[in-house]
């Protein structure tokens, strides 16, 4: 087959591949579509959907941030409640002593004769903190209740009553100190003016009489 004929054949086949006519109502279809809103491309949904999802998440985060920071601002109370829970559940650790008796530095108006109640200030403050924390954090109060249920029963130790020492029992008399004997002054005789040393002082001998006994 000659090149010329082959080229002509290639041209024929290529023309066949692009031969064809649009449908007879092509014009009417185009005109009908002019008034319709434009069709979205197939890839727009693949991009628009994730983008809108991200936008919703960002907006939700932006809305939730002030509330989150407010909760963080109320942190000390919640931290206290957490610490209280930890203290209750910890198997080993300092247990607040509710039986400690603290005596005031000055005598009370009623005097020292009456028995003082144990100082339960710590316990009351703990109770108040727990109540406040439970009021603010609904879900954490449930957890605290569970922990409280697992905690051992509280110890009921009767307060130790310490009898105050009465003022009458104290010795009121003055302490008598006996008079000490007067000490006689020690007289020291002045040294002689010529300060004569005894003979043999530099001869290597020692005068035993001058040594202290």
């Amino acid at each position: 087959m000659s090149d010329e004929r082959l080229d002509r054949l290639i041209g024929d086949v290529a023309k066949q591949l692009t031969a064809g006519q649009p449908s007879s109502d092509f014009r009417a279809r185009v005109i009908a579509r002019l008034d319709r809103p434009p069709r979205r491309a197939w890839w727009t949904s693949w991009i628009a959907v994730p983008l809108s999802g991200m936008a919703v998440m960002l907006i939700a985060l932006g809305v939730a941030r002030p509330f989150m920071s407010r909760d963080r601002g109320a942190g000390p109370a919640s931290r206290k409640s957490n610490q209280a829970v930890k203290t209750e559940t910890a198997p080993v650790g300092p247990i607040p002593d509710t039986t400690t008796v603290r005596l005031p530095p000055s005598p009370p108006p009623g005097g020292f004769g009456e028995t003082r109640k144990p100082d339960t200030t710590y316990e009351r403050s703990q109770r108040g903190t727990r109540g406040a924390a439970g009021g603010r954090h609904g879900p954490s109060s449930g957890a605290a209740a569970e922990v409280a249920a697992l905690a051992p029963p509280p110890l009921h130790v009767p307060p130790l009553g310490v009898e105050a020492i009465g003022m009458d029992a104290l010795p009121t008399g003055s302490i008598a100190v006996p008079q000490l004997d007067a000490i006689a002054p020690i007289g020291i005789a002045p040294l002689p003016a010529d300060d004569a040393r005894p003979s043999g002082a530099n001869d290597g001998t020692i005068d035993d009489s001058r040594l202290p006994t």
Partner: protein, 197 residues
Amino acid sequence: MSTVCVSDADLVARARQGDPAAFGELVERHRMAVYRAALAALGSHADAEDAAQDAFLVAFRRLDTFRGDSSFKTWLLTIAWHQAINHRRSLGRVWRRMVAPKDQEEMESVLENVAAAGPTPEGATAHHELRRELERAIRALSPKLRDALLLAQSGEYSYDEIGTMLGAPLGTIKWRVSEARRVVRARLQQRGYVDVR
């Protein structure tokens, strides 16, 4: 109003003012060129019809951007080619081609009809086989070579218009057409359809 002697520029001006009949006339005048460009890119009549309609819609919405530096047909063909390439790249179309390779069968039946016009049964069969092999060789070309060859052989476009559509210089388009022919010939020689000199 008759539009037979009205130029494209006048129709464009009237379409810009909201005259759908003027744009309809533009559609009627250029639908074949637009459709065949889409067919050259897509190889499927159904896809080419969709792409051609989309091209006219896009052109209508962008009429304000047409400055008249080139002819309306060239401007419209550039839009049509981009629309066809977008269709070609779409995943949906790839999927349809995988599921229902209908267009291949369509094209084969067309070629069979052409081949049936041979002088003798033996000659017709040989001619038919050669055409099928040619078609396979053209389809196997790289997109750049195939597009240039199909557009050039369609008879609808000048080389300048093809260069504008494909965004390549005139010399490049000519080289692509020539290279496409050479590659097809080489393939036919490989298969024994053409004598090797």
